[in-house]
């Protein structure tokens, strides 16, 4: 059967009409705590069983229960209901039989009416109806009497606990404190009750035959009184044995309880240690937070400093440098022109000198002096004797040379000379322009670094919150408020240890006594029988023998079949357990189903060397339980429940990390042909979601996210505004 859809109308926190459509494979409904997950689970339960989980009694109670009736209809729907009117809630599921193609539509409705005075009239009964649609889609209503059988077809009662379970129920399904937990499961798995029947039958048949035999024997006996004596002795011994058996059970119970209490305390001790460890981890996180915050603040402070120390203040002012460059350029040109004016004068002078056929550049006075001494023009290489015109011209040149030098001394071209200052401004601008070009890039890098720190801060804060929550969870469960209370735990622990030693002694004593009695009984029975042998008809003797054999074989066979089932269950459970813990191989060990003092089987965790693993690892315990639950279903080859019925689970993997959530979902998708997992683990975690989608691949069905319209605080004050928002993401 494939559960195709469920539609909720005004059901608890679901206001209005909400439909979830499911396919084969793994379907996921994701929501945070308080979003409406357990109410969705309630919807499945209610439409089929007329029950809803009551958090006070921690049981599923009928609609008739007064606390249930009150809360079935959505508060928001009730708020919209005027006095004198009524409002109803209903849930409808559509179940498909894939082989035949026909569908069942099961609906349950419940109405409440608002009186004129504003109070509510709440009937004690809900109404159920069903429709059957064959593969040609012709629908016809199902008569009330048949609805029960449809329900059982949708989900048989014996497999129901292992196919539809909520987080809290996992613990009680495989309750380590309930001894017959696996026995019940084995019954689901197999036909072991059949072998119980034969064991009983054979035992009874044998006892009857034996009684007969002994009676006949006594009748035929030569020694009636001896017979009687033995018979009464036998009776006495048997009743003593019964009493000893009761004593043994009592002693075994005491011992088991004492051991459990010791384990409990051990758990608390470990919790105390764990709390201590987590607390120091919290301190570490806080220190890192502080450090990150300080670094961030320093960097932010630096930003404003950088305005001046790294010239960030000049961001975008490059154009000013260009503008000034233009102005400065114009200034220098004009100035150069003025300089050029001076230069022109100089040029004119040079022309005059040229006319003397002297170098344009007027020679140094010393050179002219040389010429005078040598009485020779060294330029045109002609004589220039003293007194000649040539000599006089050269002498004139000397005069001119001296005065020329004076004249050519640079005269200031302007009144004020600010050229160096203007130039320095230009150079300053150019230099800063280099910085200006870098500024944008630098700002980007610094801001990026700050944002990175911010992200890091958020991450650490998140881890801190998770850590704190873990501490609170442990504290809640173990009721250890401080490290000091662990000291009293140690004292209690020791006293339990002593009690255990005492009970072990008691048990041993009783068992020895029992053995003695049992062998006494055997001897007496032998004696009695020997009195009768030869006296009673052979056929009776034979009969007794055959039935004795039958009884022995029946008992042995039952034990053998049972052990085989246990082995099978263990094997399947380990398969699932390994699959679920594939990402966390480190501390998982193996599941072993162990027989306890009272003959019941319990799952235990062992390491690879066969030594028991400390049972304190909570995460493993839940996973073991889940693995066993799945094994109970998957091991039953004859009628494969896993193929026939959907798994609906709100499993508590969230405590134990993302990897377990993925492991559980993946295993579910492999074991069951349809599973509907209602989970908090994937909420607001698209990475984890995508990892899961990749893992599950084609086996992925529909995925929904549910969110409440109000936060937890808002809900307290505005209950009648609450509704659930449902989004389909796959």
């Amino acid at each position: 059967m494939i559960l195709k859809s469920i539609t909720l109308i005004n059901f608890q926190c679901y206001f209005g009409e909400v439909t979830f459509e499911f396919k084969e494979g793994l379907n996921l409904v994701i929501g945070d705590n308080g979003a409406g997950k357990s109410k969705l689970y309630d919807a499945f339960y209610w439409v089929l069983y007329d029950r809803v989980f009551d958090s006070m009694t921690r049981e599923f109670q009928l609609t008739a229960h007064k606390d249930i009736r009150k809360n079935l209809v959505s508060d928001k729907a009730k708020a919209h209901c005027a006095p004198g009117e009524s409002v109803k809630t209903s849930v409808e599921i559509v179940v498909l039989n894939p082989q035949k193609g026909d569908e069942y539509i099961l609906t349950r409705t419940y109405s409440v009416a608002r009186t004129e005075s504003g109070t509510w009239r709440e009937p004690t009964e809900s109404v159920q109806s069903a429709l059957f649609k064959d593969k040609y889609l012709d629908a016809r209503p199902v008569p009330q009497v048949d609805i029960e059988s449809i329900r059982r077809r949708i989900l048989p009662d014996d497999v129901k606990p292992y196919m539809w379970f909520q987080g809290e129920q996992v613990d009680s399904l495989i309750d380590f404190k309930r001894n017959d937990t696996l026995t019940r499961a084995i019954n689901v798995l197999s036909d072991i009750s059949e072998f119980d029947f034969y064991e009983e039958v054979s035992k009874k048949a044998y006892e009857t035959a034996e009684k007969d035999f002994l009676r006949k024997g006594r009748q035929m006996s030569s020694n009636a009184s001896k017979n009687d004596e033995l018979a009464s002795k036998l009776e006495r011994l048997r009743s003593e044995l019964e009493r000893l058996e009761e004593e043994r059970i009592l002693a075994a119970n005491n011992l088991t309880k004492a051991r459990e209490q010791k384990e409990d305390l051990l758990g608390k001790l470990e919790d105390a240690q764990r709390i201590k460890d987590l607390s120091s981890k919290s301190s570490e996180f806080k220190a890192r937070l502080k450090e990150t915050d300080e670094r961030q603040n320093k960097m932010k402070a630096a930003i404003n400093k950088n305005l001046f120390t790294r010239n960030w203040i000049l961001k975008g002012t490059g154009f000013l440098v260009d503008a000034y460059a233009a102005k400065y350029d114009e200034y220098t040109r004009t100035r150069m022109k003025k300089e050029a004016g001076q230069e022109a004068q100089k040029q004119a002078m040079d022309e005059i000198l040229k006319s003397f056929r002297l170098p344009v550049d007027v020679p140094e006075p010393i050179f002219i002096q040389q010429m005078l001494e040598k009485e020779r023009c060294l330029v045109c290489d002609r004589e220039a004797q003293k007194g000649t015109e040539a000599y006089n011209k050269i002498q004139e040149l000397l005069e001119r040379s001296k005065s020329h030098k004076q004249k050519v001394k640079p005269e200031p071209i302007t009144k004020n000379d600010f050229s160096n200052e203007f130039k320095s401004l230009y150079q300053n601008g150019l230099q800063l322009q280099g910085s200006i070009n870098q500024v944008d890039h630098e700002i980007k890098i610094t801001v990026g670094e700050i944002l990175e720190l911010e992200t890091k801060y958020k991450e650490i804060k998140n881890e801190l919150e998770i850590n704190e929550k873990e501490i609170m969870d442990i504290v809640d469960v173990s009721q250890i408020s401080t490290i000091e209370s662990s000291i009293s735990i140690v004292i209690e622990f020791r006293s339990h240890d002593n009690a255990i030693i005492q009970y072990e002694k008691d048990l041993q004593r009783v068992e020895i006594k029992k053995e003695e009695r049992a062998s006494e009984i055997n001897t007496t029975e032998e004696e009695l029988r020997s009195l009768a042998i030869g006296k009673v008809p052979k056929s009776l003797e034979e009969k007794v023998q055959v039935l004795a054999d039958f009884s022995a074989i029946a008992k042995s066979t039952r034990a053998r079949v049972f052990n085989r089932l246990i082995e099978k269950l263990e094997e399947e459970a380990n398969k699932h357990y390994f699959n679920m813990t594939a990402e966390n191989k480190s501390v998982r060990g193996r599941i072993k189903l162990e027989k306890d003092l009272l003959g019941n089987y319990m799952p235990k965790n062992f390491d690879s060397a066969g030594l028991p693993l400390s049972s304190i690892n909570d995460s493993n315990i839940i996973l073991i339980k889940l693995a066993v639950i799945m094994a109970i279903i998957s091991a039953k080859r004859s009628s494969p429940a896993a193929q026939l019925y959907p798994l609906i689970s709100d499993a508590p993997t969230s405590k134990f990390g993302d990897n377990y959530a993925i492991g559980f979902c993946r295993t579910a998708s492999e074991v069951y042909s349809q599973s509907i997992v209602i989970s908090k683990d994937f909420y607001n975690n698209s990475d984890l979601q995508n990892r899961l989608f990749d893992e599950v691949g084609e086996k992925l069905g529909s995925v929904y996210v549910i969110e409440p319209s109000l936060s937890a605080e808002e809900q307290r004050e505005h209950r009648d505004e609450l509704e659930v928002r449902v989004t389909k993401i796959k």
Binding site: I303, L307, R335
Partner: protein, 170 residues
């Protein structure tokens, strides 16, 4: 260094109305506690720092407002402003904004040169006034803008177009 030196000898003023809302609010003169400074939003350590910032803000956005009719306060001479390169940069920018002819000023008499320097100082004050106005209107429009440490960095992003010739007063 005659020209620049004359400029550096001046002590510009600002409109008193900005003293509390901007100068006092965003700067803390003296004081060693940098953390406290940043926490209380006082990002500038000197009046001239925020003055320079506003001057550049006004210049970049080509936005100036005359100080006429406004009560003013003065503070340090420009000579004492740090860092010097930045001050010179501002002066350079003022020169580009003014209509002063660099060649002509070289021919001026002393008293005329002083007059030009005064004009440049006024220009500085007007652009700074414009910068303050930009900051002030931002405070009015989006007061929470300044609760963020990056606020003065972000103001530098202002596009030039916003305060172009529209608000050019003269």
């Amino acid at each position: 260094m005659e020209f620049i030196k004359r400029f550096e000898d001046r002590a510009p003023v600002y409109a008193k109305m900005y003293h509390e809302s901007i100068i006092d609010r965003f700067s803390l003169v003296g004081g060693r506690d940098e953390d406290l400074k940043q926490k209380t939003g006082r990002y500038f350590s000197n009046i001239y720092e925020i003055y320079t910032y506003s001057a550049l803000l006004g210049i970049k956005n080509n936005y100036r407002i005359p100080l006429e009719g406004l009560i003013t306060k003065d503070f340090n001479k420009i000579r004492y402003w740090q860092p010097n390169e930045l001050v010179r940069f501002v002066f350079m920018a003022l020169l580009t904004k003014s209509d002063l002819n660099l060649n002509l000023v070289e021919e001026m008499e002393e008293k005329d040169v002083e007059r030009e320097i005064t004009k440049l100082k006024n220009l500085l004050e007007e652009y700074t006034n414009g910068g303050f106005d930009i900051i002030y209107s931002k405070i009015k429009e989006t007061p929470y803008f300044f609760e963020n440490e990056y606020c003065f960095l972000e103001l530098l992003e202002l596009p030039l177009n916003d305060f172009g010739s529209k608000k050019e007063c003269f």
